[in-house]
Symmetry: C2
Amino acid sequence: MAAKRSGAQSKRSQRTAASPRSVQEASREPPLSLERIVATAVELLDAEGVDGLKMRRLADRLGSGAMSLYWHVGNKEEVFDLALDSVLEYRAPPQIVESQDWRGEVVHMLEDWRASMLRHPWSASLLPRRALGPNILGRLELLSKTLSRAGVADADLNVAIWSLWNYVIGATTTRASFDLSDDDRAAAQQRLTRLNERYPTIERTRLLLDNDWDGAFRKGLDFLLDGLAPR
Amino acid sequence: MAAKRSGAQSKRSQRTAASPRSVQEASREPPLSLERIVATAVELLDAEGVDGLKMRRLADRLGSGAMSLYWHVGNKEEVFDLALDSVLEYRAPPQIVESQDWRGEVVHMLEDWRASMLRHPWSASLLPRRALGPNILGRLELLSKTLSRAGVADADLNVAIWSLWNYVIGATTTRASFDLSDDDRAAAQQRLTRLNERYPTIERTRLLLDNDWDGAFRKGLDFLLDGLAPR
DNA sequence: CGATTGAATCGTACGCCGTACGAGTCAGAG
DNA sequence: CTCTGACTCGTACGGCGTACGATTCAATCG
């Protein structure tokens, strides 16, 4: 049995350091590796979107044959999982010991989360359907720890975390998919105006035209936090 | 030019009423129609999930050739759009004139929304990426109207609506994709326990094992509404 | 040193997908 | 009877994910 690669453990990559560059002096491409594959997949996803990621195209960008990828990953789904988690790394800001400003920390992390996903819009549509990678779990852990230290009872903790998670997921997926061109938005508005008698209220408040996504995210988040932990 | 079908206008289906059953007395299958296609697509999606909907398979169920569908719909994406919106119809409960209980109405509509989507789990993953059909717009309009009558200022209305929308989207997509078997859940928990030193807090509160989705949804929604419109 | 091994690469091929195209069917109108 | 237009469908094409087996090559061992 060939065994292939087993799980998430990495045992590759102590080669470049030791080998004398091999016989082929100028083989331009560095060797394939999980890291390169994931990084290139992210590039490709950024450039072409979810539907643009094809194994053949990914291999082209890597300068390799399509089937070579399957030595490093089990299948295409795994590429999605790895690309998603790789984009969600979070380094908490440096802070002198235990900050008192738990609310600021939560807002900062969630806004960073949202920003990361909007930098890679494909990630928003992927997140809800995928396995929880280490970076995602790390964010949940941080959130949990912060809220817990802020005095939220364990009994309410899960509800609080899921509420915030829901909010972030919803806001980013919506934002990512409603990022229409101005033309599209105008068309949508026209359609809505034509149906004015059916949807008078959302037409009046210009729900579909409202462009201040960042502000709305922040305001809504504040409301939610108010509800979760009244000051 | 063949013109095909133009938009959403329906001009079909005044045939069954008038025709004398045709020559072929026992052509078992009723004729193709948008309604039948959408209804069958929903069945198929329920049975096989998003990836299980193939044009050929859909045609099989309808007893027609695969290409016949393309007379009624433009492409596969349109089938998704129509199936999604068809599943989100909402009939507001009968109520004597203007109810005072705006909060109850909102909660009822949103819980119904969530229930509808969980009855058809594929719909949750589709919703954020799709066009707004009439049923979805109808729900937004109802939400908007109710909150407005409850006294929410127009300036805050959009934020309130999007916050609730985000919450529902996030909760349903998460719930639909985390609906693991007990085995899966146990495996996830094991993995988490093995990494206990990395994620102690979410391990302690059993975040991934918490099974009370309905209760969490309701509680989180209450928190959010508290924040949006303090009683 | 040559033989062996196992990690890594890749060419070919298979089955399935969405759907373009154009030929067929058939009811009703002229 | 002919014509027309709504509707159906068989065939075919290009592209997809990936199974499979051959191939390459550096490291290892007798």
